[in-house]
């Protein structure tokens, strides 16, 4: 088992997640293409990791494997020390709900719902049920955390790009996940708003949450505790 810890402060803690020798091959109509080849990756509680790389280098694929959207063809995946490599889909869904918060470049807000309802979406997912009042409280706390509680009743079409991304971050935070997976969250934002969003994401690590940020932006990457670069499906 390979472990490379860049930050001595977190080395004493057990890893949140650990990938060993992960390989992913894309099998389409043409020749199979190896996207990831024997990748090792570890995240500890409170650690932030930036993943850099050119388009097609496998950054998003790695993120979707970490987030249990997809399965690796080879290798092992440990979450809190438990092997979840061959987890059934139903349990994978439960883990996505309990452990991960996702932030995407394109926000993925539902236009017919308000900001609060979009955030509540992560609570109404069939993984347990809480009373309306409690849900409302959780949603407002998440919105406050990203500084847009006053926009709770606004529809996404009335929000700026930065506000929409903060709603998406609130949606990722509302279930108090252990790991935030952010796939180019600043890609559609101007520099100033992008910085603000990265700050909001980094704040979560101060509460012990792990953060994996996929980005093209080296300035944002430098703000993370660890920077890794993917090239041709391998970390440099």
């Amino acid at each position: 088992m390979t472990q490379s810890f860049d930050q001595p402060t977190v080395q004493v803690q057990a890893p949140l997640l650990q990938l060993n020798g992960i390989t992913k091959v894309l099998k389409g109509q043409g020749e199979p293409r190896t996207i990831l080849s024997g990748v090792d990756f570890t995240v500890h509680p409170g650690q932030s990791v930036a993943i850099l790389g050119r388009s097609g280098s496998g950054k998003s694929t790695l993120l979707s494997l970490i987030g249990l959207f997809d399965r690796a063809d080879e290798g092992q995946y440990f979450l809190h020390g438990n092997d979840i490599t061959k987890l059934p889909e139903r349990r994978a869904a439960a883990l996505r709900s309990a452990e991960f918060g996702f932030v995407f470049q394109r926000f993925f807000l539902l236009k017919h719902l308000t900001a609060a309802q979009n955030v509540a979406m992560a609570l109404v997912n069939g993984q347990g049920w809480s009373a309306r009042r409690k849900r409302k409280q959780q949603v407002m706390e998440a919105l406050e955390q990203v500084g847009i509680a006053h926009l709770a009743k606004s529809k996404p079409t009335r929000l700026s790009g930065g506000e929409q991304q903060r709603v998406a971050i609130a949606r990722a935070l509302v279930r108090q996940p252990r790991i935030i997976l952010a796939d180019e969250p600043t890609g559609a934002l101007d520099t100033e708003t992008g910085n603000l969003v990265v700050e909001v994401l980094l704040n979560t690590t101060r509460q012990g949450c792990g953060l994996v940020l996929v980005t093209h932006d080296h300035d944002h990457a430098r703000k993370m505790g660890r920077v890794m670069e993917l090239r041709d499906g391998r970390f440099n």
Binding site: T61, S64, D70, R90, R106, F108, N125, G126, G128
Partner: protein
């Protein structure tokens, strides 16, 4: 946990419907016609069955009623009358003939024939035959012809109790016989529609001559009912008839000519076996032969159902074809909607929703749409029935008072559910198969 999933499906399904009102409405339009067709066919066949059943019940008695025939000889009528006195679970009916109008004249409808045939001679019953106990019959010598006069002949039915518990006579006007009060000297009679028509058509004096009665009677007409009989009839209380005709229940001459005595029609509620046994025992004790008594259950419904079954199946088949068109509509809209909502479904799965629940949400949306459509179709069906009854009810008396059959409501709900499931199943499977990674990376 299951409750959380169920609630999530309902909440999200409801949000989906609210977010796509026009689409939901469009898919409801075609489905509405399909469900309405099922509701209409089911309601129509139920109403037709009930209407036909009511007509049959007017003649034969309500379904399940035990009907008995006892000859009116050897004191049987008196035994039956005394046995049934004060009972509500059985009624005896004794028929005879009566003439209302001028005494001693030939009635307009001699023989008690319907007034449509009045004046066409006594051809209604054919020649009167006299038969002996060996079955040897000979034509009766025609009685002396009476002069024509203002009188009508009716079939007179004397009752020991309220027959409406067994034969659902429909009130037309006035009231029905009150069996709870003391017998009146002037017998109260209720006419059937044909008898009322005769009295309306021919102005006859209000005097009644009953075969075998000691005196002419001046009856009080208290009401008119629809009894489903073409022959003019009057109904009266047996105890009021007795005042004028002590031997009311014994064999009358006219019936003797027809080859038998006055028979008693008995109507007993289902399950009254004890009463049946008691009657039989008393009658056999009085000398009535057991072979002469008949008791059998009325099976009106069974007869009707077999007649209507094929017709109902044909119409239901047609209705289901219309429903299939509705299902195709909801399926089409469902598939288009899934295509549009790929990102939403992928996102929902990304935040922890299982494939199964996602499929459940799509199904919940189509099921809610189906149920909503069913509710509208049932409402439209019920309202349509009321309008139809208001407009055409007077032409079809058997439909008066008809309520929207609950069976049609159930059929509508089932049709809505089936349409919801059939229309939502394929979109639900497609939604569950959306790959999260591909969509979220796009």
């Amino acid at each position: 946990m299951l409750s959380g999933k169920f609630r999530s499906a309902l909440v999200i399904g409801g949000q989906g419907i609210r977010a796509r009102k026009l689409r939901t409405f469009l898919s409801m339009v075609s489905l509405f016609l399909g469900v309405l067709a099922v509701v209409a066919v089911q309601a129509g066949s139920e109403i037709a069955e009930r209407a036909m059943l009511t007509d049959v019940e007017l003649q034969s008695g309500k379904d399940g009623t035990i009907r008995g025939y006892v000859p009116g000889e050897k004191g049987a009528p008196a035994i039956v009358e005394s046995t049934l006195k004060g009972r509500t679970d059985a009624v005896a009916m004794i028929s005879s003939n009566a003439i209302i109008g001028e005494p001693g004249v030939r009635p307009i409808n001699e023989g008690g024939m319907p007034f449509e045939y009045a004046g066409q001679g006594r051809g209604y019953y054919g020649p009167t035959m006299i038969c002996d106990s060996n079955g040897s019959c000979q034509e009766q010598k025609q009685p002396e012809k009476k002069p024509d006069g203002q009188a009508i002949e009716v079939s007179m039915v004397a009752l020991t109790g309220d027959i409406r518990a067994f034969k659902p006579f429909r009130p037309v006007s006035g009231s029905w016989l009150d069996f709870g009060s003391a017998p009146a000297l002037a017998p109260r009679i209720v006419l059937n529609e044909e008898a009322a028509k005769g009295l309306r058509q021919y102005r006859v004096p209000g005097e009644m001559t009953i075969e075998g009665a000691t005196h002419h009677v001046t009856p009080q007409i208290i009401g008119v009912v629809q009894d489903g009989d073409m022959q003019p009839r009057v109904y009266m209380r047996l105890d009021e008839l007795r005042t004028w005709m002590p031997s009311a229940t014994e064999t009358t001459n006219s019936n003797q000519y027809r080859g038998g005595g006055t028979s008693l029609d008995l109507f007993l509620q289902p399950g009254s076996d004890d009463l049946q046994q008691l009657l039989k025992a008393k009658l056999i004790g009085a000398g009535v032969s057991q072979e002469q008594m008949q008791f059998q259950a009325v099976k009106s419904k069974e007869r009707m159902e077999s007649e209507l079954r094929i017709m109902r199946l044909i119409f239901l088949g047609m209705a289901f074809l219309v429903l299939l068109i509705g299902v195709a509509g909801i399926l089409n809209v469902g598939l288009a909607t899934v295509g549009e909502r790929v990102e939403e479904f992928a996102l929902r799965r990304a935040v922890g929703m299982s494939r199964l629940l996602l499929a459940g949400i799509v199904l919940a949306e189509t099921l809610l749409t189906g149920l909503l459509t069913a509710a509208l179709a049932i409402g439209a069906g019920a309202a349509g029935l009321q309008v139809a009854l208001m407009m055409f009810g007077s032409r079809f008396p058997s439909l008066v008072g008809t309520a929207f059959p609950w069976e049609a409501g159930v059929a509508g709900v089932i049709a809505g559910l089936i349409a919801g499931v059939l229309g939502g199943l394929i979109p639900a499977i497609r939604a569950a198969q959306i790959p999260i990674a591909t969509v979220m990376r796009a």
